[in-house]
């Protein structure tokens, strides 16, 4: 009964029935991001509306389709009609949509932002195809192909969409053949460093010993990156199938998923998916008659950025403090419990089924020489269209930020690639190709896929301080360059943002940063100074403004700001007086208010209320002014 083809045929039948739906389908994106935007309240509203109005529809909960700025998304598909997607839905709007589609002859199709499928009939009116929307059009979806389309809690949905064909192909090719296929595909590790996947595998396969381990690194620690979470929540079986393929290739019989405890929904989906695999004979002894035994255990990480580093991750799985050790020996030779171990990132694993299913030749059509395939990114920050994207390697930063992301809120200033370990690149780098080597040459890194866009309201000195503050707190403390050096970097940066810096501090930052990079034991320390060094290189005038003029051009560094009331604009409404926590603002009703700078703690409450309250006059301004330094 566990024959995969029999199961697949049944799954396909079910899937076809769902697609040729005799009843309306309502898709709601309920990944973490959708939930944060209010998807659960919408789900509730839809259920209630169906019940109250006595309507029939099937609700399908799907993962994240990517454009977070459109969340929450509600898609409705009437029988024989394309699936229509509605963005930024509120519970009230959801009630309206359900009634309009299910009860009216003329559903509110005009409210949709996109539709799925090829239908260009009158029904869709002028609504474009979802994948023709500017954010989606330049993307190539390989890893994320199922996200937003299948119910992640249903193994049958995955099976019906060519799921677990990759592992069957691997079984047919044998372990060596599988490694060869991945080599020809040119797949490089998507965790950040871009090391060729096949090379690690080969070393592990050849390493002596009968007990070998595979670990899936799902400890996505970059604060501002959520690619792995979205994939695990939206299509967990893709990652699990990738684990089967990798384990089969290297000869591992035990697998671990090291996942952040902060991803509870992903853990729930993984646990469910693993039990479904067991029931379908995809885990355990002699999987699908191949003679290959494999089982997977979930290990919840307890929150440490450094555990993204391979040897630190292994120490953590073993129940120790997550501290890296020097290499060699590499984990492929001596890893978990001293046995040969391969650690692959979630995205690397999620790519594998596609390569094995479609072949290396198919995969190499995407990307550029030496950088084949696609990469997912979390495009966030001061960007108009924030979200999760997948693009072929070699696309320019300009295309990603301006075509996909729609540009920045205000004038573009910089982009940080690679999260806290990456670099901050200025406008002149916009035409840089996004590949491992080009980003490296610019002083940044590809990293795991955080892309933070900044506009002129972002202070790069403050940003460098923020990243260093993060890496310093996450430094495990084992080696001195990272432990002591990063502390001093933060101290100097803090001094500068407080307006107490001196020109010689800049040279000190450079020397210290260089030393930390060269002297640190692991990737955390070796990359930690990148944000400081790149901002110093590309935004030096901004540092100089802070140290020489005590001036923050972006109006961010609090010690360099002043709050003021513009008398001509003040309506004397007393709203600011009522929110000021220190009594710094005074003034009788209908008279211009007075702001006592010596009492002001710059908490921003008055500014917000003056800006957004109807009766106030937008009279409070925040300013940074050039002052000569004390020298």
């Amino acid at each position: 009964m566990n024959n995969l083809e029999t199961l697949r045929n049944a799954a396909k039948l079910q899937w076809e029935q769902l697609k040729n739906n005799p009843i309306p389908l309502i898709y709601v994106g309920t990944a973490s991001c959708g939930r944060a935007a209010g998807a659960l309240a919408i789900l509730d509203a839809i259920r209630k509306t169906l019940e109250e109005k006595n309507l029939t529809a099937r609700i399908v909960e799907v993962g994240c389709i990517g454009p977070c700025y459109l969340e929450p998304l509600v898609d409705i598909q009437l029988p024989g009609r394309p699936r229509m997607s509605h963005a930024n839905v509120t519970p009230e709007r959801a009630r309206y949509l359900v009634q309009s589609y299910l009860k009216s002859d003329k559903p509110a199709v005009r409210l949709a932002i996109g539709h799925f499928g090829e239908d260009s009939s009158e029904f869709v009116q002028k609504v474009p195809r979802f994948f023709d929307l500017p954010m989606l059009k330049p993307q190539v979806r390989i890893v994320l192909r199922n996200c937003g389309f299948i119910d992640p809690a249903e193994i049958d949905h995955y099976l019906a969409n060519d799921g677990y064909l990759g592992i069957l192909s691997a079984f047919a090719k044998g372990p060596e053949g599988t490694i060869r296929e991945v080599k020809e595909a040119g797949l490089r590790g998507r965790g950040g460093a871009g090391f060729p996947t096949f090379r690690k595998w080969e070393a592990c396969r050849k390493a002596p010993g009968t007990q070998k381990y595979l670990i899936c690194n799902a400890d996505e620690g970059d604060p501002g990156a959520f690619m792995n979470r979205s994939l695990l929540e939206g299509d967990p079986h893709a990652v699990l199938e990738g684990m089967l393929i990798a384990a089969y290739a290297i000869g591992a019989t035990r697998g671990y998923i090291y996942i952040r405890a902060e991803y509870p929904l992903a853990i729930v989906h993984l646990k469910k998916a693993i039990s479904q695999m067991r029931a379908y004979g995809l885990l355990g002894k002699d999987i699908q008659g191949s003679g290959f035994d494999f089982d997977i255990t979930i290990k919840e990480g307890a929150g440490a950025f450094v555990c993204g580093e391979e040897t630190a991750l292994i120490a953590s799985v073993e129940g120790k403090r997550g501290m890296p050790r020097s290499r060699p020996p590499f984990p492929a030779i001596a890893g978990l419990h001293g046995k040969p171990t391969i650690i692959n990132n979630v995205e690397t694993l999620g790519t594998l089924p596609n390569i094995l299913r479609n072949g290396a030749a198919w995969y190499t059509q995407f990307g550029v020489e030496g950088n084949r395939g696609t990469k997912t990114f979390s495009l966030v920050g001061k960007i108009k269209r924030a979200g999760l994207i997948e693009v072929p390697l070699g696309m320019t930063l300009r295309k990603i930020i301006f075509e996909i992301g729609g540009g920045t809120t205000k004038k573009f200033k910089a982009v940080q690639t690679g999260g806290p370990s990456g670099g901050c690149l200025s406008e002149e780098f916009l035409d840089t190709s996004v590949d491992y080597e080009s980003l490296g040459a610019a002083g940044s890194i590809m990293g795991s896929g955080g892309l933070i866009a900044m506009d002129e309201d972002t202070c790069v000195v403050d940003l460098a301080r923020y990243f260093l503050d993060f890496t310093q707190k996450e430094s495990c403390g084992k080696c001195a360059p990272c432990r002591v050096g990063s502390k001093h970097l933060v101290e100097i940066l803090r001094k500068i943002t407080k307006g107490e810096g001196e020109p010689k501090d800049l040279a000190m930052l450079e020397t210290l940063g260089d030393t930390i990079k060269r002297g640190s034991l692991c990737g955390l320390g070796q990359t930690a100074p990148n944000p400081v060094l790149t901002t110093l290189r590309y935004f030096r005038p901004e540092y100089l403004a802070h140290v020489k003029d005590r001036f923050c051009p972006a109006t961010v560094c609090r010690a360099l700001l002043e709050y003021r009331v513009i008398p001509e604009k003040c309506t004397g409404c007393q709203r600011c007086v009522s929110v000021c926590p220190t009594g710094a603002i005074t003034g009788p009703r209908a008279k211009t208010h007075n702001l006592d700078a010596s009492k002001c703690i710059k908490c921003r409450a008055c500014y917000e209320i003056c800006r957004f309250d109807a009766i106030a006059g937008d009279a409070i301004v925040i300013k940074s002014t050039r002052r000569a330094s004390d020298e």
Binding site: A36, F226, K320, V380, K382, R604
Partner: protein, 150 residues
């Protein structure tokens, strides 16, 4: 009572070194924090020193060592929230409640944590109180929202 609870958590494990973190996670789920007594109990159970147990627990940011408040306030300081003003929000909470991240108010009404990314960067800045997530938060709104939690 507390003693029984963590004894129960540990009963599910065989006592290997690799069990340390899952046991601590189990205790925190049940008790809300890692008490001194729990550290002693785990040390006894796994036959490792108390300092090793505490050393591991204090290494990871997930573990807390004081009882949580009735309402848990989490301010996101992920990158996207930072560039959109997350720091101003956490300053506001600290001032309003008179506690620092990791602490609990004396009346046990609130505890405060800074978190790195709640996963809704497009809606930054974000504050979570218990299971409710508030997006595009402002200083004025935050003050009002906090007061709604008893």
């Amino acid at each position: 009572m507390e003693n029984n609870q963590y004894q129960k958590t540990m009963a599910g494990y065989s006592g290997e070194e690799g069990d340390l973190i899952p046991i601590l996670q189990g205790i925190q789920t049940d008790l809300g924090y890692i008490s001194e007594e729990a550290v002693r109990g785990v040390s006894h159970f796994l036959k490792v020193s108390e300092s090793q147990v505490y050393g591991v627990a204090s290494f990871y940011s997930q573990f807390r060592f004081n009882p949580p408040g009735r309402n848990s306030v989490k301010v996101c300081l992920g990158t996207a929230c930072h560039v959109r003003g997350g720091q101003i929000l956490i300053d506001q909470v600290e001032r309003e409640l008179g506690i620092l991240p990791g602490q609990t108010t004396a009346d046990m009404r609130y505890d405060l944590q800074r978190v790195a990314c709640l996963g809704c960067c497009a809606l930054a800045p974000v504050v979570a109180i218990n299971d409710d997530i508030y997006s595009r938060m402002t200083v004025v709104l935050l003050k009002k929202t906090l007061s709604e939690y008893e």
